[in-house]
Symmetry: C2
Subunit: 216 residues, 2 copies
């Protein structure tokens, strides 16, 4: 049964990244995957036929049990590779996601588990996100998104959810990294940018970027 294609795995992973147990609209899925809504619609039908997800027209898409298992497995491979690339190969933080995103599809189960053992069964990736266990279980991050905080709060960065290398590079250069502390100095009105104090530097961060930063 069932070697899933790279494309299929990316659709499943996107469903997890957009929120496990969320109902995701096809347009959001399409945007995340960089395809047209029409294409995403076609793919969703195919994945539906394979029993990986369900689509309720005009509502959105949700993973089935089978789909969630497969999806968590992709995420597991991805984040284990991120750990390896960071800790052993010393690859630049902002490039981890992209490089691991290729490897994840070329990684047999046997290899995944050998890698996990080699790495000492890490629980988090260098972006601060939890690594699903073999059985698919997930430590939820209980934090909130930086875009939903009040001026004056001092917070610790738990994780960065972004995936695009240029976004990650922007955050890396400004030290908005897991483990760092920051203070919200100002929130410009009308969905304007946040001004943060990170270390001794002021950082401007658009709300859409702030969405990617999980803090506590």
């Amino acid at each position: 049964m069932s070697q899933l294609s790279e494309s299929t795995e990316m659709y499943l992973k996107a469903m997890v990244e957009l929120g496990l147990n969320e109902i995701v609209s096809i347009s959001r899925l399409a945007e995340r995957l960089g395809v047209t809504p029409v294409s995403a619609n076609e793919m969703v039908r195919r994945l539906g036929d394979q029993g990986l997800l369900t689509h309720t027209p005009y509502k959105g898409v949700a993973l089935t049990k089978k789909g969630r298992e497969a999806a968590c497995n992709v995420v597991r491979r991805q984040r284990l590779w991120e750990v390896f690339l960071y800790e052993h190969l010393h690859i630049e933080w902002a490039k981890l996601y992209e490089l691991a995103c290729s490897l994840e599809h070329a990684t047999a189960p046997e290899l995944t588990e050998a890698l996990a053992t080699f790495l000492g069964d890490p629980k988090f990736c260098p972006r601060g996100n939890p690594i699903p266990a073999v059985d698919g279980s997930f430590l939820p991050l209980n934090g909130k998104t930086l875009s939903a905080t009040q001026v004056g709060e001092t917070l610790k960065v738990l994780a960065v959810n972004a995936t695009a290398t240029d976004v990650l590079k922007y955050l890396q250069e400004r030290n908005v990294l897991p483990g760092r502390e920051l203070t919200v100095l100002e929130a410009a009105p009308l969905q304007g940018p946040l001004t943060l104090k990170v270390g001794d530097k002021d950082v401007a961060l658009g709300l859409s970027l702030a969405e990617f930063v999980i803090v506590k």
Copy 2:
């Protein structure tokens, strides 16, 4: 320019595995890649159009300079991964080729070189084959194929060229592995099998398998 497709990379790698600088017939290439000669012909035309190889009708296919560089780079990635899988993840010897054969296509140049450094710039893979340098240069193995030896000779295994997991498993189980010594006890007539002494066991080896074993 030019991210090569997985399929393209496999054709190029096959050209190296069938003998760098050899002229290879399309049928041999087809057989190695598990496609029909007609399909191989089509692909060879495409790779020819990209300037990666040249095809002389009724003679065979040869890599161009550009093709040889790309091909050696694929082989480099493959064999570096084999080293990693063997030495660090302790993957079974017979499975190295197959697992590394997926990873090789998902490995960016930056990652390849970080991996090489991590591994200490190894010169040989666990199957005994040389790892091409970044510039494509190759230490040639100067040995001969086991199928071309005389009864009575005692030889050391330099490398195993096989790629199919079942073939590798067969050889592994009989200790026909790089570094091992063996003696040719008998060569059955009419292209019949060889009988070898490996350690204290007798091993029967068909000539087509013996082709894969490089000895000195």
